[in-house]
């Protein structure tokens, strides 16, 4: 997955950008930054829930993630890399409860909270190497869709907006800049009386084009251990998939399956509509049946793990054009392929 959380113990999030003042910057490996970590209680996210809907025909992915956080008295944020220009939207309702009821014994501890949606976030003027393609209010977050061709410029842009970065954050960003990825930066500003606030959950959809389902899983180097930690990923697609990532903890790097498969099955459209709800069901392809798979991960840290690609579990036939579309994703499985 590609969430970069900006707050300190935001488990499972890739890179967190804290909005704290430039003087602050208590940064942590997970990309979480808070102004004064000793006195501030930062978001905690030990249970992550993600729904990936992939339409192979349209080569379109919808990445739906429930962001759960508590004690969010400090501003924080996430940066999520995507292989193509994303669209960001709030998801109403609570698809994860229905998904977990249907497919897993697991029930998340929170119900989604309705949050006001709107627009009007400050459209920052970026340096030339960083383009803010859109800004939008998504629930409690300001969502910035960003294209960058210079990691240093991207880092400056984040810093200028009080989204603290560190050397590991910059290196993390640089990798995606080199690959030509886009970014979604979600910035949360707590309400004034948020100290000791109750736990909140909001669901955000990020949609983008990709030939192969993608999960931004990599974290900045040295992210803190979050234990216990659980990631549950539901995948709805036209076929079955196997999650694969490049594991570089040792040399040489190896392809591995980073997540355990919990369940898989097929659903008719009517069943799928019941589970997803009308809003998300509108995103699935028109095929009469869809595979639904559930994967799970309890890694407390992700050092050395690259992003996850969901590869077909059985051979597929591709056209030359489709094969060409795979190329931007290839360096995720073999970094040598990023070299000319």
């Amino acid at each position: 997955m590609t969430f970069v959380a900006i707050a300190r113990r935001l488990g499972g999030v890739v890179l967190a950008l804290a909005l704290m003042g430039s003087s602050a910057g208590d940064s942590h490996a997970c990309g979480v930054f808070v102004r004064n970590a000793a006195t501030v209680r930062v978001p905690s996210l030990h249970v992550e829930e993600v729904l990936v809907i992939h339409d192979a025909d349209e080569q379109r992915q919808h990445f739906i993630r429930r962001v759960t956080f508590r004690d969010a008295a400090e501003p924080f944020g996430f940066v999520i890399p995507t292989p193509s220009r994303p669209e960001v939207a709030k998801v109403s309702g609570d698809p994860f409860s229905r998904l977990s009821t249907r497919f897993l014994p697991y029930r998340p501890p929170l119900s989604g909270l309705d949050a006001a949606s709107g627009s009007g976030a400050d459209p920052a003027k970026p340096p030339a190497a960083v383009q803010v393609l859109s800004t939008k209010r998504v629930g409690s977050f300001d969502a910035f869709v960003i294209a960058a061709n210079d990691a240093a410029a991207m880092t400056r842009w984040l810093d200028e907006r009080k989204l603290g970065t560190t050397s590991s954050t910059e290196a993390w960003l640089a990798r995606y800049v080199r690959l030509g990825f886009h970014f979604v930066a979600l910035r949360y500003a707590p309400p004034q009386n948020a100290e000791g606030a109750t736990t909140r959950a909001e669901t955000v959809r990020i949609s983008f084009s990709t030939a192969v389902p993608y999960y931004p899983y990599m974290e900045p180097a040295g992210a803190p251990v979050a234990s216990p930690r659980s990631l549950v990923v539901w995948v709805v697609g036209d076929r079955k998939f196997v999650p694969v990532a490049l594991a570089s903890q040792r040399t040489p790097a190896r392809w591995k399956r980073p997540w355990a498969s919990r369940q898989s099955g097929q659903l008719e459209r009517d069943d799928l509509r019941d589970v997803l709800g009308a809003e998300l069901f509108a995103l699935v392809s028109n095929r009469p049946r869809h595979f639904v798979e559930v994967f799970e991960d309890q890694k407390t840290r992700r050092d050395g793990w690259g992003d996850v690609l969901l590869v077909p579990s059985a051979p597929i036939t591709t056209t030359e054009r489709q094969r060409k579309a795979l190329e931007p994703m290839m360096p995720l499985l073999d970094p040598e392929l990023a070299k000319p």
């Binding site: 697991y106 579990s313 051979p315 094969r323 290839m330």
Partner: protein, 220 residues
């Protein structure tokens, strides 16, 4: 099919430890028209035959073809190592349940247990193979087979029956023939095959080894 043509096909498929089954509507040779990656582009597990990762010595084009094969499902991805506690601080099977129960305690819900089931395994034939080695490989796949059965039980209530696999392997030929009985769904056979593909039964330098194994599945 002549032996030469048969060997050529096997070499083609074996180059990337191809799968043996294809989804409906997909080509059964597992190819997409793309040239298969050279075997030298990928490193394989010496013992299990599963792909490990890109080979450092491969050319750029070879590496690219290897990754395309992976992204097109033409590699034995189920043979890829699963992150585990010892190697990667990764998956602890019970941890999910423990964590889930903790979460559920908060949420006031109750977890659903695995469906109680019995799986018995018997090696019925061995020819020119080490029985202990065969049994060791079977044991290594026990957990995967159990998962296949749990999925089958979710799909077909009270699914029960047997799956028999007959495995033959020589340096240039591999084959696994499955046979099912009872109410075991084909999807479960496919699942077992994925975890028991010929590419995963170990390397044979010369001669031919064969063994047959019978799994019996029944819910408790």
């Amino acid at each position: 099919m002549t032996r030469a043509r048969g060997v050529a096909l096997v070499l083609l498929l074996g180059a990337v430890a191809c799968r043996r089954e294809a989804a409906p509507g997909e080509r059964h040779d597992g190819s997409s028209g793309a040239p298969p990656p050279a075997r030298s582009a990928v490193t394989f597990d010496e013992d299990e035959g599963a792909p490990l990762g890109p080979a450092a010595t491969a050319s750029h084009e070879e590496r690219k073809r290897a990754v395309v094969a992976l992204l097109e499902g033409r590699m034995d991805v189920d043979g890829l190592a699963l992150a585990d506690t010892d190697a990667d601080r990764a998956l602890v099977p019970d941890q999910y349940d423990k964590l889930t129960r903790a979460v559920l305690a908060t949420a006031g819900a109750s977890p659903q247990a695995k469906i109680p089931a019995t799986i018995s395994t018997r090696v019925t034939e061995v020819a020119d193979a080490d029985r202990a080695g065969v049994e060791r490989r079977l044991e290594a796949r026990r957990e995967s087979i159990e998962r296949c059965y749990q999925v089958a039980l979710a799909e077909v209530e009270h699914a029960a029956g047997t799956i028999e696999l007959r495995v033959t392997r020589s340096p240039d030929f591999s084959n696994v023939s499955p046979k099912r009985s009872g109410s075991i769904p084909q999807s479960m056979v496919d699942c077992v095959m994925r975890h028991f593909g010929a590419a995963n039964i170990g390397r044979v330098d010369k001669g031919t080894v064969m063994f047959a194994v019978r799994f019996e599945f029944r819910p408790k």
